[in-house]
């Protein structure tokens, strides 16, 4: 059978790949995509622990569903923002949005 460690490693790896994408991608939409990867890694983690620790309860699943909903909401709002910025500044490069520069 598949030990927990495999799932955890997979989740960790997926998370770090998403992390790299968040940090390194120029395009804001690509950034959001990488963010979805990270959230998915979290989901994998949650479900893995639910399965291995308390498969009879519904808490793990519930948590995951909520994370899913939040991810959806956040993706919607984030893309709306990107669209708004795109309309205003004609750019979707995350670096170019540096008005908060000190």
């Amino acid at each position: 059978m598949i030990p927990l460690s495999w799932y955890l490693i997979l989740a960790a790896a997926l998370f770090c790949v998403g992390l790299y994408g968040v940090l390194a991608r120029r395009n804001a939409v690509a950034l959001l995509m990488s963010l979805e990867l990270m959230l998915n890694a979290v989901n994998i983690n949650l479900v893995a622990f639910w399965r291995f620790q308390a498969p009879a309860s519904t808490g793990g699943l519930m948590f995951t569903v909520v994370v899913l909903a939040v991810a959806a909401a956040e993706a919607a709002v984030g893309l709306a923002l990107i669209l708004s910025i795109y309309r205003q500044r004609q750019t979707v490069v995350a670096e170019d949005v540096d008005q908060m520069k000190g």
Binding site: L23, L31, A94, E95, V97, D98, M100
Partner: protein
């Protein structure tokens, strides 16, 4: 009011006059001179009252008038018979003799000063205060009388004092008055820088007499230390002179001198200064810068006589251990040597002087030398006698010279041509023929001059000088010879003076137009003239010329009793008499012969005769120059360079400046190294540091979200390492 208490009142009226004039009547000239003359007259009447009372008292001498009060609370309890230091008055025969002539001469000079100060003439705007007046009244008229009164007080105080300290007080006040009066015309300056101004002369007089006064004070202190008292009667007369014997046998700190000897020498030092003996004679000729009444009073009749008076007063102390015919004590030896030397020394200078007052100044020095020489050989009475007669005829001569000078100034103002102005009215070479223009002055001056020269029988000076010569012939023949020579020179220069001034023809326009002065000036001359002739008759020796003149020698009789053992009269000897006749008449004749027809522009025959020696005489043997080189210059160098520059400005100011600079340096250092870098720097650097930190921290704020995220994650990693590393390692 007993006679003892009247004596207290004798010095006081002039003192009161001084205060009244200074405080109240300074602006009113007439009132000032009336106050001065009036109160001086009171003093004179009281003095003569005391004098005649003393004359009338039998046995006066053993008995005296005295009264005293306790003055300073310390005496020397260890010395028996002495109590707290007292001050009081004493009239013994010597004092009585002084009281006869001192107030009289002072009063006559006060009267003379009224005329001398041109009283009655209006104030002339050209006459500046501090300058001698030419046409108007003396601008500082009242001040003159104030100072004269103060001086009279001091002299009378000295005369009636019963102890050395009070006498010294009078001595010093007289020194002060001498300074004030010599420098009376304080703003007078001369174009020739070598001619001494009145200011400088006043300082010179004060400083030179100070040397003598210092020695005298040492003597007084030593005497007090030895005896615990300063009262004359206690030291010299109590217990038949027991204290004197003790002093004469106590050795002093100088080997070979007894205490009495050392004290006597120190006290004599004071006289050398005050009576202008060699080597402290240099101040008296320059003191002639003062007005002539001052010269007459202070520097002829009274103050310089005070020196001789002090020696007369202290004679028992000075001669402690001496018996007549025996060897002289050290103070007496000093007096004899100095006096004799000075008598001849000053006489030689006097023959070469052309200023009418300077001749008289050197004459005074010489005559004082006569008195001290006499006293030094033990001739107490002769010295006192000459003191009295000299006061009269020297005052007369000075007042006469003042009259001559005034007359010359009148002549200068009335002379028609402008060439008469600007010449020195005191220079005898500018005079001549004044006997016709100023007869009263002439005859009184002749009376005084003959007295000075010792014209036989009818002048006072003859009798007193003859007495001195007789005494020295008997006791010290060497001194006799020197004094005889000095007497010859005295007669010579006196006649020279009379001839140049009054005889012959007027040599300048000023002399031609000279005129006689007012009665206030000529009356005192006449009065003094009387005494110059008559005063000597009180001292004719009893066995003069072998005649038995009973009742003569009154002076000797009275004054002789001032000593514990009155000196016995000397038997008459014809040698001194002949000598004095020869020198007096010979000198007078020589002087008349050489100078009777001295014309204007001629060289002095003496100059031709003596050649280069004349230059030495005229320049007073260059003693002023010697003192200047030896004393004045080094002291001035010391004061100006060493003390003023090096010590005062260099050391003291330098130390102070150094402290100041040190303070400033410390302040600067503190500011530079502590205040600015630390305090200000900390504050400033705090601000700029924060700014710099902010500026560098700013670079972190790129505004880019991904970079923020990266930074955050880097920190998370670091935190994770810090938190989890121990756990990881332990596994």
């Amino acid at each position: 009011m007993t006679p003892d208490n009247v004596v207290w009142l004798i010095p006081l009226p002039p003192l009161i006059a001084f205060f009244i004039i200074v405080l109240f009547t300074n602006r009113n000239k007439a009132l000032s001179h009336w106050v001065a003359i009036g109160l001086m007259g009171v003093s004179w009447l009281l003095s003569w009252g005391v004098f005649f009372r003393a004359l009338g008292t039998a046995g006066f001498g053993a008995q005296v008038l005295q009264a005293a009060v306790a003055w300073l609370p310390f005496g020397a309890p260890s010395v028996a018979g002495t109590g707290p230091l007292s001050m009081g008055v004493l009239v013994d025969p010597l004092t009585a003799a002084m009281l006869f002539f001192v107030p009289l001469i002072c009063l006559l000079i006060f009267v003379y000063s009224v005329g001398y100060g041109n009283f009655g003439r209006p104030v002339d705007p050209h006459d500046l205060p501090g300058q001698p007046p030419h046409r108007g009244v003396e601008p500082l008229y009242s001040r003159f009388f104030a100072f004269l009164s103060l001086f009279a007080f001091a002299m009378l105080l000295l005369v009636v004092a019963d102890n050395l300290l009070l006498m010294f007080v009078g001595w010093e006040i007289m020194g002060l008055c001498s300074y004030l009066l010599i420098g009376f015309w304080y703003s007078r300056d001369y174009s020739d820088p070598r001619q001494i101004t009145p200011r400088q002369a006043a300082v010179k007089a004060f400083i030179v007499t100070r040397v003598g006064d210092m020695l005298m004070l040492l003597g007084i202190a030593y005497l007090y230390a030895q005896t615990g008292t300063l009262s004359f009667r206690q030291i010299m007369y109590a217990d038949g002179g027991a204290m004197l014997a003790k002093l004469a046998s106590t050795p002093s700190s100088i080997v070979g001198l007894s205490a009495a000897g050392l004290i006597g020498l120190l006290l004599f030092g004071g006289t050398v200064g005050k009576s202008a003996q060699f080597p402290l004679h240099v101040w008296l000729p320059d003191a002639m810068e003062g007005p002539t009444p001052v010269s007459a009073m202070i520097h002829a009749a009274t103050m310089v006589s005070a020196g001789v008076y002090a020696m007369l007063r202290m004679f028992p102390l000075l001669s402690a251990g001496w018996v007549s015919g025996g060897p002289l004590t050290p103070p007496m030896m000093a007096m004899a040597v100095v006096g004799t030397f000075t008598a001849l020394f000053a006489a030689t200078i006097a023959v070469a002087q052309n200023d009418i007052k300077k001749v008289l100044a050197y004459s005074t020095i010489s005559q004082l030398g006569f008195m001290l020489a006499a006293l030094g050989t033990g001739a107490y009475v002769a010295a006192a006698f000459h003191l009295v007669t000299h006061a009269f005829f020297k005052a007369l001569l000075f007042l006469g010279s003042g009259s001559v000078i005034h007359g010359m100034e009148h002549g200068e103002q009335h002379a028609p041509s402008a060439a008469a102005h600007g010449l020195d009215p005191q220079n005898m070479l500018n005079m001549g023929g004044l006997r016709r223009r100023m007869p009263l002055t002439f005859w009184t001056f002749v009376a005084g001059g003959l007295a000075l020269a010792g014209f036989p029988f009818i002048t006072a000076g003859f009798w007193s000088k003859d007495e001195i010569l007789a005494d020295t012939w008997a006791h010290a023949p060497v001194i006799f010879v020197v004094l005889a020579l000095a007497a010859f020179l005295t007669a010579f220069y006196t006649m020279r003076q009379i001839s140049l001034t009054f005889l012959g023809q007027p040599r300048t326009a000023a002399a031609e137009h000279a005129s006689e002065n007012t009665w206030t000036m000529t009356l005192p001359l006449a009065a003094l003239g009387f005494f110059a002739v008559a005063a000597g008759w009180a001292g004719i020796p009893e066995d003069f010329l072998g005649l038995n003149l009973a009742g003569a020698a009154r002076f000797q009789a009275m004054v002789g009793k001032a000593l514990l053992s009155p000196p016995e009269a000397l038997p008459f000897n014809v040698v001194p008499l002949l000598t004095s006749l020869v020198v007096a008449l010979g000198g007078l004749l020589a002087g008349w012969w050489v100078y009777r027809r001295f014309a204007a522009g001629e060289t002095d025959p003496l100059a031709l005769a003596l050649g280069p020696v004349y230059g030495w005489l005229k320049n007073k043997y260059y003693f002023d120059e010697l003192y200047d080189w030896a004393f004045v210059r080094p002291v001035r160098w010391l004061a100006e360079v060493v003390v003023s520059q090096w010590i005062d400005r260099g050391l003291i100011d330098g130390a102070l400046h150094g402290i100041g600079r040190l303070g400033v340096a410390i302040g600067d250092a503190l500011r530079e190294y502590i205040d600015v870098p630390v305090v200000t720097g900390a504050g400033d650097r705090l601000g700029s540091g924060v700014k710099d930190v902010g500026r560098s921290a700013r670079t972190l704020q790129t505004g880019k979200v991904q970079e923020y995220l990266l930074m955050a994650l880097a920190m998370v990693i670091v935190a994770g390492i810090v938190l989890f590393l121990p756990i990881l390692m332990s596994r």
